[in-house]
């Protein structure tokens, strides 16, 4: 199996037209999964770039379901919808069923294991009962025992965010962090949150099976045309394939 490349963008960012164009073009550049963020009420665990993208999309307003429907119609890659469980916990069943009706493949709640850890098994089961699968997100501030446990329940990989928030280049030692997780995880391990090109090579050497990139894509789309974001994807794909 080759190394996974997971690419994140905020639903409808920077505009619906450029968002859909980006997905279509990126699909042909070696992306394995698209992660699509639905703007939440409060992006509590996100950094400033992704928070700005959410604000921008909310400011011009989109029909989330219509845009997701269009994405599904045009993109044949697996789709992971990312959204905060805070926004859907009251109507979780209906929300997941609606995703299932659109043939979305996976849902990722970044706050699940932080704020709902006591109920996570029930929530994962409910997602599964409604026809979808949960992609679980872990971080270094989670206990080893929990990381090992959830690695057996996640599809299609375990997402390991290395930093406390998206896109903020807080100094860390990514190799140490990935080695720690690799010992615990009995599943495919995808690593993200602020990875540089050097980091990518290093985390793969430490045992990661793939990488996720998000802030760097959103920033490229924020500042320039789609091509800049596509170049980043090509570069990362090149690094992944070269290893």
């Amino acid at each position: 199996m080759g190394k996974y490349l997971v690419v994140y963008n905020t639903l409808g960012f920077p505009s619906i037209g450029r968002f859909l164009l980006f997905l279509k073009e990126a699909r042909n550049r070696g992306v394995n999964f698209f992660e699509i963020g639905i703007p939440p009420r409060f992006a509590k665990y996100d950094g400033p770039v992704i928070r700005r993208s959410y604000s921008r999309v909310k400011s011009f307003g989109i029909d989330v379901w219509e845009v997701l429907k269009t994405v599904r119609k045009n993109i044949d890659l697996p789709l992971i919808v990312l959204t905060y469980l805070d926004d859907h916990i009251e109507n979780l069943g209906m929300f997941v069923e609606n995703l299932h009706k659109l043939e979305i493949d996976y849902v990722l709640f970044p706050d699940l294991l932080i704020d709902y850890v006591d109920r996570y098994q029930d929530i994962v089961k409910e997602v599964k009962d409604r026809g979808l699968k949960a992609t679980l997100f872990v971080s270094p501030s989670m206990p080893d025992k929990l990381v090992a446990e959830v690695s057996l329940l996640t599809y299609p990989f375990l997402y390991y965010g290395l930093r406390p928030a998206t896109g903020i280049p807080i100094p860390i030692d990514p190799v140490t962090l990935v080695k720690r997780a690799r010992r615990l995880v009995n599943n495919t391990l995808v690593v993200g949150f602020g990875l540089s090109i050097n980091d990518i090579a290093n985390v793969l050497g430490a045992g990661a099976d793939g990488v996720a990139i998000g802030t760097v894509i959103v920033e490229a789309l924020e500042n320039s045309e789609v091509n800049q974001a596509l170049k980043i994807i090509e570069t990362v794909r090149g690094v992944l394939d070269g290893l």
Binding site: G47, R163, A165, I170
Partner: protein, 429 residues
């Protein structure tokens, strides 16, 4: 008293710190930026030494202690003694055995140097000329002043004003080590000036002093060093518990109850975390706060700012609110409004028992300890002494023989003026 012979020193001083986060019962909520405004998490890179940030966020169970830091630990007198409090046991006529780890043996009189040294070391290797910090009662400021002098860099300490005025010895100690000490709130920062314009008699608080220290750091391009609350501080302080585990092994004892006082959580975490994470087989862990700073009984577990101005990221912790100011009459050092996130989580999960002790009881306990053991505890440590006495007396009633271990986090020789003011208020107890 029983101390451990020198020949065991190499065996006792660990070469790794211990981080409890991989062994916590639940995920530790991450720091968070507020809904509006600029990113506080991003700003940390301009405030804190780079390597300290790296340690804070590269979470692994064991972290190697740099050789230079180990050497400085030795210079300041680590490992610290573990004593059996036979005098206190006899006075209480208890079947319990009472041991205490004496961090007061360190040069500035408390455990704070255990994290001051590595933090200043990392600032030094980054090429920083000055480190900035805040202090309440003065123990943290003294430790930073000493650590800075060991590395030949300068230190600036914003001291809570009421302590600046009532603890001249502490101030003198910091200045003797070469620190510049500033009473907070001060006119040196925008935040300080704003507070003084509203309330010229403001006695100050740790939250205000932290905000001033950080603003000063940012405006001058210095680096800020942190006394408590953050995981990296509790990581460094784990040296206390790791040494104690070895020392207790050497004498063939295992504690049943572990007690320590709590301000931000660093001395409690330092002693207790290695036991909680590595040797937790039915032990009791008791955290003792001040009734005048009632974070256990009145605090809320929520995201709050560690500093009053809100410059730092939000942390999920037990808190009395960032604007909390302890009563001016309160002379102890446990005045911080919040509690380390990891300790807050452990308290919420019931791994740790929490209690609060009044200043009058602290005073009585301090006198008993001083009269039976000779050591005058720091007022902060005397909170733990009070609870130890209670447990020992309870053991006497039940004819039980628990092994009680507590952290004597500091001595009270530089707080004797505070004890004098307590003597006036409470008489002979």
């Amino acid at each position: 008293m029983v101390n451990i012979p020198k020949r065991y020193l190499d065996e006792i001083l660990p070469s790794y710190w211990y981080n409890i986060i991989p062994d916590l019962p639940k995920p530790l909520p991450p720091p968070m930026d507020p809904e509006n405004g600029s990113s506080r998490i991003e700003l940390l890179q301009k405030i804190v030494p780079r390597e300290i940030l790296k340690q804070q966020f590269t979470i692994e169970r064991y972290v190697k202690i740099p050789e230079d830091v180990l050497e400085k630990y030795g210079i300041v007198g680590r490992p610290t003694p573990l004593y059996r409090a036979i005098g206190l046991e006899r006075y209480l006529d208890t079947p319990a055995k009472i041991y205490f780890k004496y961090e007061g043996a360190l040069p500035t009189g408390s455990h704070k140097i255990n994290t001051a040294i590595p933090q200043v070391y990392y600032a030094y290797i980054e090429g920083v000329e000055r480190v900035v910090t805040e202090t309440g009662a003065g123990q943290w400021g003294s430790a930073v002043a000493l650590a800075a002098s060991l590395y030949r860099i300068l230190s600036i300490v914003f001291m809570v004003r009421v302590s600046y005025e009532h603890k001249p010895s502490r101030r003198a100690l910091m200045e003797f080590y070469g620190a510049e000490v500033i009473p907070s709130p001060s006119k040196l920062t925008n935040f300080g000036r704003e507070i003084l314009s509203r309330d010229p008699e403001n006695p100050g608080s740790l939250g205000i002093a932290i905000s001033e220290a950080i603003e000063y750091t940012l405006s001058h391009g210095y680096r800020y060093v942190i006394g408590s609350v953050l995981d990296v501080v509790l990581l460094h302080q784990s040296i206390i518990g790791l040494e104690t585990i070895k020392q207790m092994e050497i004498i063939g004892e295992e504690p049943d109850v572990i007690v320590a006082c709590v301000g931000g959580g660093s001395n409690f975490g330092g002693l207790a975390y290695p036991y909680i994470g590595l040797r937790n087989n039915g032990k009791r862990f008791i955290a003792v706060a001040s009734a005048e700073v009632p974070k256990f009984s009145k605090g809320v577990y929520t995201y709050d700012y560690p500093d009053t101005a809100g410059i730092l990221p939000l942390l999920k912790m037990i808190t009395l609110g960032k604007d909390f100011i302890s009563p001016p009459i309160y002379s102890g050092g446990l005045r911080y409004h919040g509690l380390a996130p990891s300790l807050s989580l452990l308290a919420r999960e019931g791994v740790i028992e929490c209690t609060e002790v009044s200043e009058r009881d602290v005073y009585r306990a301090a006198r008993i300890f001083a009269e039976t053991q000779g050591i005058i505890p720091a007022p902060e440590s005397a909170h733990a002494v009070k609870v130890v006495i209670d447990i020992a007396l309870e053991a006497k009633k039940r004819n039980e023989k628990p092994v009680i271990l507590f952290n004597m986090s500091g001595h009270g020789l530089l707080d004797i003026e505070n004890y004098r003011s307590m003597m006036i208020r409470y008489g002979k107890g």
